[in-house]
Structures are given as structure tokens and as C-alpha cells.
């Protein structure tokens, strides 16, 4: 109900927002999350079709009441143009990961097979490592990383989720 400890389920939410591309805007949003103690699972930001506007995709988690407050607080910021919670809509979600896997001549083939299965690319090779570029939904990227764990992941860089609403919603 009203308290911060509630029985409602904590869920992951994907929030897409457009903001004025001003100095300090990103800082203000990050500061808002920190100050209120909200979670940021991932945050991406980049330019849009309009030079003066940036799009941010934030993945956060919380129960319904917390998510409602997050949405309202983000909307309240002066530089926020629009905030949308994509979670309950159908949306395209993509993420890019660069995974540097430990490989030996013996394991190299197997790693490349896995990469092929996931339709990812090998972008770097060295005597001891293979670097794979993986793009896809968060689920797919999680899955390939899991598969590669057993070989030993030397370094991992993930961008975090970028999302955009689908124009044709669900079934016709």
C-alpha cells in the first residue's frame, strides 16, 4: 500500500525517455536515481533524429508504487520531454556486448561454433583469446555470455539495453 516495504512484486522495467540535449541533463537523471535510492540496472543515452534531443533507455527495478514515483520524478525534471514505461507494451530491445573469451587452439573451434549458433561475429583473435561481438535482445546476450563462461571470460563490455516501441502492437 503506502509504505516502502510492500507485498507487491519487484519487477524489471524498461523506461525510454527523450530529453533536451543540454549540459548536465544526464547528470541530473543519474543524480535523481541515486538521491532517491532507485536502482539502475543499465542506462544508455545517445542522439536522436533531432540534434537537440537525446534518448535515454533506463532499465530499473521496483514494485508498482516505486515505478510510479520514478516515472513521475523523471517527468518532473525540466529537461525531460517525454517518459514512457515500455515494460507492458511490445517493444524492440537490443543490446551490444563485446566478450573477450579465453581460447586455446583446442577450444577455438567450439567457441566459433557457439558464436555461429547465436549469429554473432568474431571481431578479434589472439593466441590466447577470441573477442565476440554479440547483438540481440537482453535474453540472447545473457544466453551467449552464459555459454561462454565455461571457457573463461577475460573481459566483458555491455552497452545496456536500448529500446523502442513497436508500431504494430501484439496480434492483429
Amino acid at each position: 500500500m503506502a509504505s516502502s516495504t510492500t507485498n507487491e512484486q519487484v519487477k524489471q522495467h524498461t523506461i525510454s525517455m527523450t530529453v533536451e540535449n543540454h549540459f548536465g541533463t544526464l547528470n541530473r537523471i543519474a543524480g535523481l536515481f541515486a538521491a532517491k535510492g532507485y536502482n539502475i540496472d543499465s542506462l544508455t543515452v545517445g542522439p536522436t533524429e533531432d540534434d537537440a534531443v537525446s534518448r535515454m533507455t533506463i532499465v530499473t527495478r521496483g514494485d508498482d508504487q516505486i515505478i510510479e514515483q520514478i516515472m513521475k520524478q523523471l517527468h518532473k525534471l525540466i529537461d525531460t520531454i517525454k517518459v514512457v514505461d515500455l515494460t507492458d507494451d511490445t517493444f524492440v530491445d537490443r543490446e551490444l556486448a563485446l566478450v573477450k573469451v579465453q581460447s586455446t587452439p583446442a577450444t577455438r573451434m567450439e567457441i566459433m561454433q557457439i558464436s555461429e549458433i547465436f549469429r554473432t561475429k568474431v571481431v578479434d583473435v589472439s593466441p590466447k583469446t577470441l573477442t565476440i561481438e554479440a547483438t540481440g535482445s537482453q535474453l540472447k546476450v545473457d544466453a551467449i555470455i552464459n555459454m561462454l563462461k565455461s571457457f573463461g571470460i577475460k573481459e566483458l563490455a555491455r552497452t545496456g539495453r536500448v529500446a523502442i516501441k513497436r508500431e504494430f502492437q501484439g496480434e492483429a
Binding site: M1, A2, S3, F23, G24, L32, K76, I81
Partner: protein
């Protein structure tokens, strides 16, 4: 005080940033500027030297300047404007900015900054004030190009004064102030990313009216938003039409005349017994411009547990933040009430009001009368003598709570205090600011001995400007509110709450301010009358009160009305004050 505009048409002229800055203030109708000069803002001060349209008040600390701007704003309804220099000037303003943020006061604070090339270089008197104040401003700006200056200032005033008001900071590097460009002040402003909703959703308003019209025990819970929105006439119309009792928060005091029969005084931690009980027993709670702050709600799950809640506020994020609203209405309070008042019908609240009357008779605000001087008596007398026709600016602590409880609030914009942040040292500079803004009513500053010492230096500003300010110090030799908590919850271990002060009367006289000391109840009335009659300049009165006295009632933090601690004074021997009884005897 009506602002004067310089219509000598500076548009289209080539000017320095400093000149543009000043011209923008004139365009915005600013008549008073509170500030303190420094290296990076000398350029602006040079322009101010010859200017007659804007009065600049030199305070003795930048914190004093910001609190003065707050007091000015609360008293007049206009934005408070501050000008300070970089580095320590800016950081000294932080407390006042945070205070304005917590209490939603429209403030535009201009800070000087080092030249753009040196920003981030640990230059002399440089701080990242934009970074520091990001969480405590409604918005802030760093102007890097003189061509953006006029637009930024226009935006700053627009943002500070619309929607839920708040402080906006504009950082001005020295080279931007020296650079030249053609002055063009935008006639209108529109920000695509900021469009506060002012008109309430009609469907929601109808829903609220339906709920109210079925209510048997309605209660109005009125907060500072009503004052900001200048909606006290609409609130009064609603309460009177419904015949509904009304309680206010600390910042709502003055929205509804307390001498009126429906008034229950303040609610919350130190609110009246009967207002807190009314909240608990009402069936419809109409929250107007209030934010369900923890000082009001106590244990949030138990607050107004028997009532459906209607919440009218301009800030959507305040609605259902702490307490879920059954009927939320986002909009400007004045506009929403105008529409709501058309749809509600007079209610039969006779039984409800009778019950409340009984509570008022059994649990009035009261204090001991044993011949020693008590703060409550001083406030009581002040209220009686002025009949509510005064602006009272209080500090923070016990004296603040007694002022809220015992003064007879009558008009909006007469109750000024630091609520959300609770900043000690607020009252003297804020009262100063109020006195600059209002000359129609006497301005009285009420402060404890602790708080008074925090910004005591502003006595010089008061004296320099010969403000007819009445300064009342309630001196009990303690940081009273903390001492009270130590008495109740920490086994009377008065750790560092006993505090010494200078002889305030001699300090005032050293500043050139006439002063008097009062230590007997019999002296109170005469001295207050004398202070109020003294209109040629400031006057200070020190009231030496009993050292240990407690504020009652009290609902300890996080608890419910069931745990309310009423005054231990028996009714017969104490001085009981009920601002009003709803029905006369019989």
C-alpha cells in the same frame, strides 16, 4: 510595493553581459535584490551603482541574503532574487537554496563564476555550484555564451514561478558578463519539455464532488500550496459551503482565519489534539496543496485510516507519494477549487461538529500559569494585541511550534517559517526580507536564543536600512526542542543542549537598535504594545522564559494519534486557549 519598469527601450542595443543581466531583472519587474559582492561579480555591481529601479540590499552573509529573499517571496508572492559571488559566496547560499527547495519558494539565485576557460581548473574562488545545487534546485543553468544570457534568465524566472514553485540557480562566468551582444529580451517563453498542468481533470473533480456530497464527517487538510496559489478565498468558500472543519499544516496557517468556528488549528506532530483526532475520525479527507509530510502523518499507514482521500496538488509526483489518493486531482489549487465549489452541496455536519466541539473543550491548547514567564504567553499576547494583523516570521524549534499554535492566524502570507528543512537562523534574515516587501502590516520576528545566534550578523542589515522590524527573542538558555526530546526519549541526558548567549540587549544597542528585556508576565503586554507602536525603526525585545518547558501535544515520530501526548496541565489551573468553539453554549 509595485515594481517600476524602465521603459527606456534598451532592446536592440549592444551591451555587456552585466548590463544585460540588470536589464533582464528590470524586465522581470524585480524591485528588490538581496546580495553580497565579490571578485567575479564586480561588473554587475558597477552597473547597479547607478541604477534606481532596483533596490539592492547588502546583507552580512550570503545565507542571510537567501533567507531574506525567501522571506520577501513568502510575504509578497513574488520571486525572491539573490546575487552572490563565486566560491564561498555560492556555497554560503546553499542552505537557503535547499530551504527554498524544501518549502517550494520561488527564488532565482545568481552566482558569479570564474571565467569559462578556468572552469574545472581549481581556480581561485571556484566551485562547481551547478553540480552542488543540482539536487536542491528546481533547475539550474551555467551560461557559457553571452548570447544565451537573456533567454536563460527569462527561463529561470518562468521555471521558478510556475507549476510547483522552487529555486532556480544561474551561474554567470565573469567573461560572459564582460562579453558584449545585442540585448533582446524575449517577450514570451515556451519550453517544450516543461508544461505544468494547471487545469484539473473535470472527471476527477466530479468524482471528488460526489464523494464529498455523500460525506458525514468531512475534513479539509490545507497546506502551503493554497498560499502559493493565492487560493484562500476559494478554501474559505469551500469550508463555509460544506460546513466542514478545516485543519492546516504549518505552511497552511493563515489560509483560513483561525478565529472562525470551523478552524481546528494546525495538525501533525505538534498540532492540536482535536485536529489530529478529526483526521483519524473523518470519512473524507480533502487534501489541498499539502504533501502528507512525515511531521503531519506520523505512522503513514495509520494516517486518516477511516477516510477516503481526495488529493488536489499541482505536482503530480506529490500525489500518492506517501499516502495513496482515492481521487487524485492534478492542477492549480485555485482553479480546481473554483470548479469544485460549484459542484459541492452544503452538508449536514452538525453531529460531527458537536463531537469536535467536545474534543476542543476537553483538550484545548494550554500551559501552566504560575507567575513565571512562558513563551506561550508571549505569543498569546501578541496574537491578542495584533488580532492576527501582523506578519510573524519564526525560527525553528520550540518557539516555532508555540508561534504556530498560539498566534491567531488570520491572513495568508503572514505566517513565515522554515518548515521542510527546518533551518535555524532563518527568522532574522527572513523577517528582514518580509519587511522590505510589505509595509502594510507590522513584521515580527520570533526566535529562540540558539537560532538567533546563527544569523545574528543581519542585525547590521536591519539597522543600516532602519527597518521597522520587531525582533522578539525567546531566551530559555537551551536548544529547547532537542532538550525536550532528550527529556522524553533520552533520559534527560542534556548533551550539549545548554547554550549561552551574549547579553542580547547590549548586542542590539551595539548595532544601534533600541532593546528591552522582559522577565515577568506582567511586563509582556506593555512591552509588545511599545514595540508595535515603535515605527521609526527596529526594536528588539528579549523575553527571558522558564528554562525547561515542553511543546504539547506531541505525537512522537512515526507514531499514531493513539500515542498522542497531551499537556499534563489540568484544565482548571492552566491557561486554556481555544481559538474558537464551533457552537456557543446551548
Amino acid at each position: 510595493m509595485t515594481p517600476t519598469k524602465a521603459h527606456d527601450n534598451h532592446q536592440g542595443k549592444l551591451m555587456t553581459g552585466a548590463e544585460i543581466f540588470v536589464r533582464c531583472l528590470v524586465e522581470e519587474g524585480v524591485d528588490t535584490l538581496f546580495g553580497y559582492p565579490g571578485g567575479v561579480v564586480i561588473g554587475i555591481y558597477d552597473v547597479l551603482h547607478d541604477l534606481t529601479h532596483i533596490k539592492h540590499i547588502l546583507t552580512r552573509h550570503e545565507q542571510g541574503a537567501t533567507h531574506a529573499a525567501e522571506g520577501y517571496s513568502k510575504a509578497t508572492g513574488r520571486p525572491g532574487v539573490v546575487l552572490v559571488t563565486s566560491g564561498p559566496g555560492a556555497t554560503n547560499a546553499v542552505t537557503g537554496i535547499a530551504d527554498a527547495y524544501m518549502d517550494s519558494i520561488p527564488l532565482v539565485v545568481f552566482t558569479g563564476q570564474v571565467i569559462t576557460k578556468l572552469i574545472g581548473n581549481d581556480a581561485f574562488q571556484e566551485v562547481d555550484i551547478v553540480g552542488i545545487t543540482r539536487p536542491i534546485t528546481k533547475h539550474n543553468y551555467l551560461v557559457k555564451d553571452v548570447n544565451d544570457l537573456a533567454n536563460t534568465i527569462k527561463a529561470a524566472f518562468y521555471i521558478a514561478t510556475t507549476g510547483r514553485p522552487g529555486p532556480v540557480l544561474v551561474d554567470l562566468p565573469k567573461d560572459v558578463l564582460a562579453a558584449k551582444t545585442v540585448f533582446e529580451y524575449p517577450k514570451t517563453i515556451s519550453l517544450r519539455s516543461y508544461n505544468p498542468v494547471v487545469d484539473g481533470n473535470m472527471r476527477q473533480i466530479k468524482k471528488a464532488a460526489e464523494l464529498i456530497n455523500e460525506s458525514k464527517r468531512p475534513l479539509l487538510y490545507v497546506g502551503g500550496g493554497v498560499i502559493s496559489s493565492n487560493a484562500s478565498a476559494e478554501v474559505r468558500a469551500l469550508a463555509d459551503k460544506l460546513r466542514a472543519p478545516i485543519t492546516t499544516t504549518l505552511h497552511g496557517l493563515g489560509a483560513y482565519p483561525e478565529q472562525s468556528k470551523l478552524s481546528l488549528g494546525m495538525l501533525g506532530m505538534h498540532g492540536t489534539w482535536y485536529s489530529n483526532m478529526a483526521v483519524d475520525q473523518c470519512d473524507v479527507l480533502i487534501a489541498i496543496g499539502a504533501r502528507f509530510d512525515d511531521r503531519v502523518t506520523g505512522k503513514v499507514e495509520a494516517f486518516a485510516k477511516n477516510a477516503k482521500k481526495i488529493h488536489i496538488d499541482i505536482d503530480p509526483s506529490a500525489i500518492s507519494k506517501n499516502v495513496p489518493a482515492d481521487v487524485p486531482i492534478v492542477g492549480d489549487v485555485k482553479r480546481v477549487l473554483k470548479q469544485l465549489n460549484e459542484l459541492v452541496k452544503p452538508l449536514d455536519t452538525k453531529e460531527w461538529l458537536n463531537t469536535i466541539d467536545e474534543w476542543k473543550a476537553e483538550h484545548p491548547l494550554r500551559y501552566k500559569q504560575d507567575g513565571s514567564l512562558r513563551a506561550q504567553h508571549v505569543i498569546d499576547k501578541l496574537g491578542e494585541i495584533t488580532n492576527g494583523d501582523a506578519i510573524v516570521v519564526s525560527d525553528v524549534g520550540q518557539s516555532q511550534m508555540w508561534t504556530a499554535q498560539f498566534f491567531k492566524w488570520k491572513h495568508p502570507r503572514t505566517q513565515i517559517t522554515s518548515g521542510g528543512l527546518g533551518t535555524m537562523g532563518f527568522s532574522l534574515p527572513a523577517a528582514m526580507g518580509a519587511a522590505f516587501g510589505r509595509t502594510d502590516l507590522p513584521v515580527v520576528c520570533i526566535s529562540g536564543d540558539g537560532g538567533f545566534q546563527m544569523n545574528i550578523q543581519e542585525l547590521a542589515t536591519v539597522a543600516q536600512n532602519n527597518l521597522p522590524l520587531k525582533i522578539f527573542i525567546i531566551n530559555n538558555g537551551y536548544l529547547g526542542m532537542v532538550r525536550q526530546w532528550q527529556e522524553f526519549f533520552w533520559k534527560k541526558r542534556y548533551s550539549h543542549t545548554q547554550i549561552t548567549s551574549p547579553d542580547f540587549v547590549r548586542v542590539a544597542e551595539a548595532y544601534g537598535i533600541p532593546a528591552q528585556r522582559v522577565s515577568l508576565p506582567a511586563e509582556v503586554e506593555g512591552t509588545i504594545r511599545k514595540a508595535l507602536a515603535h515605527k521609526d525603526g527596529p526594536m528588539l525585545v528579549e523575553f527571558v522564559v522558564v528554562p525547561e518547558e515542553n511543546v504539547f501535544p506531541m505525537i512522537p515520530a512515526g507514531q499514531t494519534v493513539n500515542e498522542i501526548i497531551d499537556s499534563p496541565e489540568p484544565l482548571e489551573q492552566s491557561h486554556a486557549t481555544n481559538k474558537t468553539m464551533i457552537h456557543a453554549k446551548g
